[in-house]
Symmetry: C2
Subunit: 334 residues, 2 copies
Amino acid sequence: MTLPENRQFRLHARPVGLPRATDWNYVTEPARPPGPGEILVAVEYISLDPAMRGWMNEGKSYIAPVKLNDVMRALGVGRVIASQSDAFAPGDAVSAATGVQSHATIPASAATKIDPSLAPLPVYLNVLGMTGMTAYFGLLDEGKPAPGETVVVSGAAGAVGATVGQIAKIKGCHVVGIAGGPEKCAFLTSELGFDAAIDYKADNLPKALRTACPNGIDVYFDNVGGDILDAALAQINRNARIVICGAISQYNNTTPIKGPANYLSLLVNRASMKGMVVFDYADKFPAAAQDMATWMKAGTLKGREDIVNGLETFPTTLLKLFSGENFGKLVLKV
Amino acid sequence: MTLPENRQFRLHARPVGLPRATDWNYVTEPARPPGPGEILVAVEYISLDPAMRGWMNEGKSYIAPVKLNDVMRALGVGRVIASQSDAFAPGDAVSAATGVQSHATIPASAATKIDPSLAPLPVYLNVLGMTGMTAYFGLLDEGKPAPGETVVVSGAAGAVGATVGQIAKIKGCHVVGIAGGPEKCAFLTSELGFDAAIDYKADNLPKALRTACPNGIDVYFDNVGGDILDAALAQINRNARIVICGAISQYNNTTPIKGPANYLSLLVNRASMKGMVVFDYADKFPAAAQDMATWMKAGTLKGREDIVNGLETFPTTLLKLFSGENFGKLVLKV
């Protein structure tokens, strides 16, 4: 076969603050033919996630940093175009850690077959992918919301946050989302069924939280950190659970991270703050995916993807995550 | 009977920063005779605790603030000198929330009989009292240390910290204490059997922690907050448990509290940070006290009291807690 050109974004320099164009190398080279047990995937959609910012940094984390000059790590979905594995045939749709490139040659064991007749491919990067799993396990396994409890989620119009809030509604909770701007807030309440939405850019956050959570906060699912985490800490109930899923407000800091000044509220309220990483729940993904698919079919769980065209826009499209511009799951269409 | 003079410290003003002499009123008035169901206690020893600083502040906490002009809240031990209750006779030794005063008239139901033949009275304010219970439940119920795990405790030469470390040793852990000054550190290792002690005033804390905890930190029991909490967060293991018992470095701040800048280590390590208040474990106090008494008898658990003479020294003696001057459980002898 003629090997296609593989367009790739490689990490050129470790960013200081927001990633800049000069932190990337855009490289084109022929795709590598699959060896035994490998498949070649034509990547169609690439997932852009806040966690990617952390992967660019040096130092110990829950996953090794991307090495300089390696293709940037990312999840993607696409179709097999060549296979040296019995498990996959050309034409199969798969999801995998493809990286930010148009063609990925990967071990067949690292790919998961997906069914495009059930849902469009981008949905497998959102509700039916790691994003959905993060929301599911972070909320249910760590937040442990009981019916009638109040669940607050930040970054609520983002991919994880929107799913957290909808699952909390399905579980019978009073759900409050924090997001930026009136359009996102309206979407949360009128489209996704949140009980209330707070525009952190416009509202007095402590006051708005008090109004939206008359019975205090039982579960706070945090995607943003910073002042919003502090505001939530100030209004938690006894035995509240705070799930630390991310801290997008702090990822591009060039100054030290702002720790939560109100953390002693954990003591006063015998509350817990716990970090979570989605990979830890891998053995339970199939059961969760079944729940998610059922809820999607029933219409109680909706996904929204913010799809941007063109692999070559990657450096600037990624920044939408940090400016709060994206609305729903940010996906790059190759 | 002739009623004795009751010397009392009443809260005159809410302190800003460190409590000053002018925040107290020293008042003398005749003790109030016990009414039906009440006892009059001649207080012999008063427990001085970091938590008292919080009780002086206005605002919602785990317990109501001390009202202005009320006798300052404190735990104490003493002897009944008059009783209108069948449960107590004059001469009985009791522990109770007596307040900072020489004579307390209290409901019999609020007092616990103690046995001076088992241990001297001040021990009932330390290992056999709330201090010991705080260490016991904070470490065992919240920290959940497994044998062989590394337990680090700050404020380790303080009353709670010293007990936490010894219980962790009894449970087969590698135990590291953080304290201020060579004398306290030597005490931890040579007297109390800690595996290592770090002098936060002299040592490079991150480096000293790495040396003392070659396998990382599994349980961190925090009494101090601030930079020490941050240093510990930087070296926790996966699934580590951080118990927030106090934050003495922050109690007298007139500027905002310093939140833990390294809190995202909770995410990376899937770790938890949980606050605890000893009163929540009240139904399990008797069983715990039995454990503690057994360990004391076996010599594996030692208490050390730092006893200061004279009720009238209360305003300055209390400050020893915040300057780090006290060495062991700080107790005021009436």
